[in-house]
Symmetry: C2
Subunit: 415 residues, 2 copies
Amino acid sequence: MRELMQIAHDANQAKRETAKLGTNDKNRGLLAIADALERHADEIIAANREDLTNGRENGLGDGLLDRLMLDAKRIADIAAGCRQVASLPDPVGETLWMRKTPSGLTIGQRRVPMGVIGIIYEARPNVTVDAAALCFKAGSACILRGGKEAFRSSMCLTRIMRGALAAEKLPENAINLVEDTSRETANQMMRLNGYLDVLIPRGGAGLIQAVVQNATVPVIETGTGNCHIYVDRSADLEMAKNILVNAKCQRISVCNAAESLLVHADVAEAFLPMAAQGLAPDGVKLHGCPRTQAILGGAVVPATDEDYGKEYLAYEISVKVVDSLDEAIGHINRYNTGHSECIVTRDYAASQRFLDEVDAAAVYVNASTRFTDGFEFGFGAEIGISTQKLHARGPMGLTALTSTKYVIYGNGQVR
Amino acid sequence: MRELMQIAHDANQAKRETAKLGTNDKNRGLLAIADALERHADEIIAANREDLTNGRENGLGDGLLDRLMLDAKRIADIAAGCRQVASLPDPVGETLWMRKTPSGLTIGQRRVPMGVIGIIYEARPNVTVDAAALCFKAGSACILRGGKEAFRSSMCLTRIMRGALAAEKLPENAINLVEDTSRETANQMMRLNGYLDVLIPRGGAGLIQAVVQNATVPVIETGTGNCHIYVDRSADLEMAKNILVNAKCQRISVCNAAESLLVHADVAEAFLPMAAQGLAPDGVKLHGCPRTQAILGGAVVPATDEDYGKEYLAYEISVKVVDSLDEAIGHINRYNTGHSECIVTRDYAASQRFLDEVDAAAVYVNASTRFTDGFEFGFGAEIGISTQKLHARGPMGLTALTSTKYVIYGNGQVR
């Protein structure tokens, strides 16, 4: 077993070589990884089967077991993901600007690799490859720490990826998996100052908070989404219903799903029955304010303050009738998690105020919050969705995994 | 006294108003602050005198007392700084890009205020105004926590700034000073998740490390600079001497001053005596490797491993003879703090490799590291110099104090 400090050391050696690789070399590595994963599919499935057996014995739920499961089709999808990352533009090396200063220096800002990127995630083996491929394309080494329930699968995938790089004479230590799955080692990883340039947690609220609270290395907080749909007094109610039903029900387990509905009082009596009808086929449970209860009657349970702050990730939604756009914006800015927010309106001024004043990574007029996604935004890939304001906010593509440096050309200047 | 939590709450109220201010309103506030500071100069000087008296009684060194001292000239300079910030372009509101996606959404990335910015700094009252002005111009509220030795001065400056904003009907709670100067309150400030969008420490290595180690809010690590001058085999030695002397001696207490000299073996015998002679007028103490000692003789003390990693901030420098560009780059990447590094060379390939491979915020060919500075880089201002790779790297101007949001215009799109 490679100890964490050995991995940290190896990754910091490898980051120099990885940073120097040209785009063609990096793409060659990614394509070799994709081929190797498909070639070794049986080996991966065998390792995965052990994880699944253990998981069942330890009482893992069906949802977790499904996320953990790998078969030939899923492995082919993972390999296709690597090939797709290879096809993306290289974010490294771009000069963002360059100019002559009054002192005669030529100063430019150049996009460079981050260095060593840490990713802590749950028992989803596909993230092991996904994250490694993105970090490699961005010119960085990575240290991955996945959920222990998927350890055999992730270890097998990592061994195959490292082997593919080594066979191509590329730095295998660019891809590293933490082999000790204890909580102490995870905590140690969060404090690898000097070895980790950034740590990105991917997973549920518990994992993310553990990283935010314990890490001393720079962190990008991702993910939890208490997303609102606000139906303005001037909304096209049919459009509002479609957006609400899509944002709530199309996929309930994701961070860009709607968790709260706000309705302007002027349209509450007309819209709330439409909303309830739209959400009924999926059996969505409504947690409503007193006015919502008065309009919709007994099927609505009372909404508590806690409900308004909750990311249900389930067929549940909080509902509140508001008297004004101001109240809607105030409510959202109080309870949201800075992820994705939507207004449905036909009013120009309301749309502009909502875009300006709602504090979130993505603010929508007349579209489902479900579009908050690196692929939908045109980044070609996504390492996660940042809900902090530092460095990257919203869906993070390859450029979010880079840093910059200033390069300065002089001819003897002194101050 | 306003308790920290009260301040955090007030700042978070004020950030909404501050974010909405137009450029003219923000500039009006900054000019009002500048005028008020000059108008109340006597009051500031009186408060500062108390700090100075206390400082002398508590045995503060001359350097610290000098940094603490305010007189009419310095107050005028501080006011001029506010007016200069008012003259800078507003970083907020710029749309970095906007495009139509395949699903027909129009998505744009817009620069927005950070929200609430925390600054922890030492006993330099000028930073109180400087930081407040930059945060205000960037559309954010700030929470300032200055060194307790300057508390009366900072409190007086803050009262005047808040009064000037209030008189202009602008949100006075955009500018806040932590009034409890205990260490516990500083630690509490570092953990104000949900209230502070970023915390920037400005000061010495001890302060910065305390923040990095204790903070759970996002931090931008600033400042310490173990900067190298590498004199390549092909260097113009006269130019190298000028750059070395400037980088080491022009101002020793700053983070972009040189702390280490590397010399290619081929030119060591020619250059080291020139270097010693150039550094002699300032009495610079040389900590040299054995080869440096052999060339320069008894005046050189042996360099330890610790010396190579040291930010002296004094008339001292470590010196090492290296056999190759590779060794120079390897040494720098091992010992530097990611700040500013310089090669002096006439060799094209060496210059390109140094720019590519040295891992630092600013990498120079043939110019003094002393140029790493927001004003010299053309940003018009500087809140500090980031030595981390996340969010901002190198000198940070107004845009480093902003975030972005995605604004999405749809017409009913769902997934």
